[in-house]
Amino acid sequence: MPDPIKLRATVKGNEGEVRVLMPHPMESGLRHDPSGQLIPAHYIVSVVLSLNGRPVIEGALGTAVSANPLFAFQLEGVKAGDRLAVSWVDNKGQRGSAEGVFSAA
């Protein structure tokens, strides 16, 4: 099991700032291990960010996203207490998700 997602959601005025860190190897499938074996591709392909249950940002990722993807986003019309959810799916069908609540910055 990968480490849990780290999610930070803060509100300033009516703007919500989201930072999300998703622990994941993001193996490109192009690297070799020390014995010369190709390391199979293993990377997140899809990310969804939802505000109060409604998807607002949807991402498609390739192998060029760095290991342990760290993203920052901005949402409008957000208030403290609003619920945020993030989920991912990788190319092996593994999933991760986390939920958080917006708090005043």
Binding site: R54, I57, T63, A64, A67, F71, L75
Partner: protein, 157 residues
């Protein structure tokens, strides 16, 4: 074209129940983002030209309303920080391409109503390359690029 894109997207997952879950969770509000479906085949393209064609942005026009913040010289190609902001009204999608990567299309984000078309991310860059952003708004595509020098590449070894 839309049908083909959807099929490729579905095939990329290859698991019907999983796909149902992803699409169910991922469907953005109709009307705010027509281009909900990603063309997964574009992520397998080996040249930027092919990737641009597959995301439907081959004829993207240059725009100064896309702001791209990226270091001129990246010391670590394994994690090049970028910040992208589109000031083009109605932007629903931002795409990032690294021309000289083995697979140039790095990522795409769809933005529904309530999400500002901006993000920060970290990318792998195999070598010194042009970095391209494509902003899509109301079926049109706009682009900006920047050349980034990479001193230690971040894909191979």
């Amino acid at each position: 074209m839309m049908q083909k894109g959807r099929r490729d997207f579905l095939q990329a997952f290859g698991n019907a129940t999983l796909v149902a879950g992803v699409l169910g969770a991922g469907l953005l509000k109709p009307g705010t983002a027509r281009a909900v479906e990603f063309n997964r085949a574009a992520f397998d393209a080996k040249t930027a030209a092919d990737a641009l064609r597959l995301i439907g942005a081959a004829g993207a026009e240059a725009s100064r309303d896309i702001l791209l913040k990226v270091p001129e010289v990246a010391e670590n190609g394994a994690a090049v920080p970028i910040e992208v902001v589109s000031q083009i009204p109605g932007t629903t999608r931002l795409s990032v391409l690294v021309d000289k990567n083995p697979f140039p299309l790095a990522l795409q984000f769809n933005f529904a109503a309530g999400a500002t078309p901006r993000f920060q991310a970290k990318l792998k860059m195999a070598e010194t390359s042009r970095l391209r952003i494509v902003a899509s708004a109301a079926g049109r595509h706009y682009t900006i690029f920047r050349d980034v020098r990479v001193t230690v590449g971040g894909c191979g070894e």
